[in-house]
């Protein structure tokens, strides 16, 4: 699998929260050669099942891998003199969108730009100010009447950005949060073709993570896995971001540790990475991880969960940047972890037979 080519297609596909149809179709195509079955649930999560080869007389066990396919975006909220007013879906940083290209998904996709004032007409005190959403408009070039025929309040708007390759295996584009994670799931699925594993594997591209972890919430309920790993992006080191708040680019997946993460899951992932000499790092998350792992952990009676973070710079902009090697390492780590899962691991997590201690 050419990870650069896969990520390019994933990145350039549309997939706003609740409107993931295009990217879902794209991922579905990638799943097919490697999965035993694929389904879409009622919120739109795309779930691939790869069955394990289970020794006779052993209990069926499963693991859920989750990465979200939705991206942050915008939505039409009104009209003003032939321009569009808009709001955001998920946290788009208003500092980064002035003068950007977008696609407005009206009756047909309309290219547009986020309007800005020429600096010449701004009073000096305005020039250094951040512009808020209320002051921003989108210009698609159409006259007012035609605009109103083609566009309605509530139509989604995606950032438009071509994927580019930088030097040394670095790439840049939109929606790497969390299509980089989805790409790592595909790397894992491919690697599992050549590995023995006894647990069933549910590979889930989740929806609406950016709108409150919704896909993971219902996906985990429907699948009811024994354990889960979420893959998301983490803050890659860059000037102006503190060391303790960031992870190293090209340093491998960050294996998260903290109350959202089952300690045995964390420990085992670290051991597997060490055993196979896979580059990895540690990320301490003292509370809510803000990722799908946060929702999955408390689904049903509780699901032991882990989180792998792919280092990424410039999060929630359309120039998110990752190192391809980190995606490959993340996928391989998951595949190797899955291949060593057995009933003794389930026992270690307390997933064995329910045992009541007499008092």
């Amino acid at each position: 699998m050419d990870v650069v080519s896969v990520l390019r297609q994933l990145s350039e596909a549309r997939g706003l929260p609740g409107y993931e149809d295009e990217v879902r179709a794209c991922i579905s195509g990638f799943y097919e050669p490697w999965a035993d079955a694929v389904r879409t649930d009622s919120l739109g999560n795309l779930i691939a099942l790869k069955k394990g080869t289970r020794p006779a007389e052993t209990k069926a066990r499963s693991i859920m891998l989750a990465a979200h396919m939705d991206e942050v975006g915008l939505m039409v909220s009104g009209f003003e003199k032939g321009f569009l007013r808009f709001t955001h879906m998920g946290g788009v940083d208003p500092r980064t969108i002035l003068g950007q290209e977008v696609v407005v998904y009206g009756q047909r996709p309309l290219p547009g730009i986020i309007a800005t004032h020429p600096p010449h007409v701004l009073p000096p005190e305005e020039r250094n100010k951040v512009v808020s959403y209320e002051e921003l408009f989108i210009d698609v070039g159409l006259p007012e009447e035609e605009l109103k025929e083609l566009v309605r309040v509530g139509d989604p708007i995606a950032m438009r950005r071509e994927f580019i390759e930088l030097a040394e295996g670095y790439v840049s584009g939109k929606a790497f949060d969390d299509r980089a994670g989805v790409a790592s799931l595909l790397v894992c699925l491919e690697a599992l073709q050549n590995l023995q594993h006894s647990w069933d594997v549910y590979v889930v591209a989740t929806v609406q993570e950016e709108k409150g972890l919704k896909g993971a919430t219902v996906g985990a309920y429907g699948i009811a896995p024994d354990i889960a790993i979420a893959v998301d992006v983490g803050f890659g080191r860059q000037p102006g971001v503190e060391e303790k708040e960031s992870i190293v680019m090209d340093g491998g997946p960050a294996i998260a540790k903290g109350p959202n993460i089952h300690p045995v899951m964390h420990q085992t992932l670290v051991e597997v990475a060490k055993r196979y000499e896979l580059k990895h790092q540690l990320e301490i998350i003292p509370g809510a991880s803000g990722t799908d792992a946060w929702a999955i952990q408390v689904t049903r009676e509780g699901i032991p969960s882990a989180l792998l973070s792919i280092p990424l710079r410039y999060m929630h902009t359309s120039v998110e940047t990752v190192c391809i090697r980190d995606i490959e390492r993340t996928g391989r780590l998951m595949a190797l972890f899955i291949s060593q899962l057995d009933e003794s691991f389930a026992e270690k997590l307390g997933l064995g037979e329910e045992r009541w201690m007499p008092c």
């Binding site: 649930d41 939505m75 909220s77 709001t87 879906m89 309040v153 509530g154 309920y221």
Partner: protein
């Protein structure tokens, strides 16, 4: 239908104290449904069976309203209070509250006539006409609702608790008017929406709908200098696209639009940049439910004088009825 609205809005029912509203609704809808029950959180769940071949629909409108709760009574009999739901501080001073036992209190402010600013919550108190804790008609923990009568302005209706008794009224009216339907429809009058859509969480879990629709109020952008929003009073019920709590399933949104257009019902599309409804909890129930929301545009939401347009209300009834009678054919 105005008489139904008046009855509903004037009934006492802050979040967690929905008993009287529930009894009122139960009495009205009994002849029109096949079965009804009350669940552990106090949701009223009524089933009207369909003729077959349709879906299991859940229609939710919340019975509860915002209010206040007594937290302390001082030596002179003044009560301090906390908020039940999203009460707005700038609507409080000089207002009256009614408690479940019939006691009435006036909301006072320590800095009355001393300050022109907005009060801080801890500077407010309720004067129930008592002189000491001993002769106070209220006790710590008693819950009060705004006391404000229903007013019919002709084209527009004003009252406390339009949020969401107007939704209850729309659902009841649609239930009474609806004709043959292929769908099994669960009419759920939910509890504790104002405390975080809690009634919808458990009722959706119990009902297991295939499609869910909440009926609730939404904000507008048509008053002087209002925060921009493309919803006005009098331009028809609103079909929600997104709010802070959810993105409406596009197929559900389209189903609602298609029915409105087929029936020639004026409607508006709603993008609300804050707030949420029961629909967000229905959507996340169990393995997920396609959910949407039919909104009634409302001015001054969460004040004691919430205003709706009567034509919008009637439009909402018609749209809901036509939705219930149709077959939602989208695949979930």
């Amino acid at each position: 239908m105005k008489e139904l609205v008046k009855q509903l809005v004037e009934t006492y029912g802050p979040a967690g104290q929905e008993g009287r509203v529930r009894a009122l609704i139960e009495g009205i809808i009994r002849p029109y449904v096949d079965a009804s029950r009350v669940d552990a959180l106090g949701n009223l769940i009524a089933l009207k069976r369909g003729s077959g071949g349709g879906k299991r629909l859940m229609i939710a409108a919340h019975m509860d309203e915002i209010g206040v709760v007594v937290t302390h009574i001082d030596k002179k009999g003044f009560a301090r209070f906390g908020r039940v739901g999203g009460v707005q501080v700038q609507t409080m001073v000089g207002g009256r509250v009614l408690f479940g036992n019939g006691a009435v209190g006036v909301i006072g402010w320590e800095k009355w006539l001393q300050s022109r600013g907005v009060p801080a919550w801890e500077e407010l108190f309720i004067d129930v006409g008592a002189t000491s804790p001993d002769d106070s008609p209220v006790r710590v923990g008693d819950v009060g609702a705004f006391l404000r009568p229903f007013v019919d302005l002709g084209k527009r209706l004003v009252s406390k608790a339009m949020d969401d008794r107007i939704g209850c009224a729309v659902v009841i009216q649609a239930l009474m008017e609806m004709k043959e339907s292929p769908n099994d429809v669960y009419f759920v009058f939910t509890a504790q929406e104002e405390l975080g859509t809690r009634g919808a969480v458990v009722s959706a879990f119990g009902v297991e709908p295939e499609v869910g629709i909440a009926v609730d109020v939404t904000h507008i952008g048509d008053t002087p200098e209002a925060r921009p929003m493309a919803v006005s009073l009098g331009k028809g019920p609103a079909i929600k696209v997104m709010d802070a709590g959810m993105v409406v399933n596009p197929a559900v949104k389209q189903w609602m639009i298609d029915v409105a257009e087929k029936e020639g019902i004026p409607y508006q599309l709603e993008v609300l940049e804050f707030g949420g409804t029961d629909a967000r909890s229905i959507q996340l129930s169990k393995a997920g439910v396609p959910a949407g929301c039919l909104s009634i545009p409302c001015r001054y939401v969460h004040s004691p004088s919430e205003m709706v347009d009567y034509e919008d209300v009637q439009g909402a009834v018609k749209l809901l009825r036509k939705l219930l009678e149709s077959s939602p054919s989208f695949s979930s």
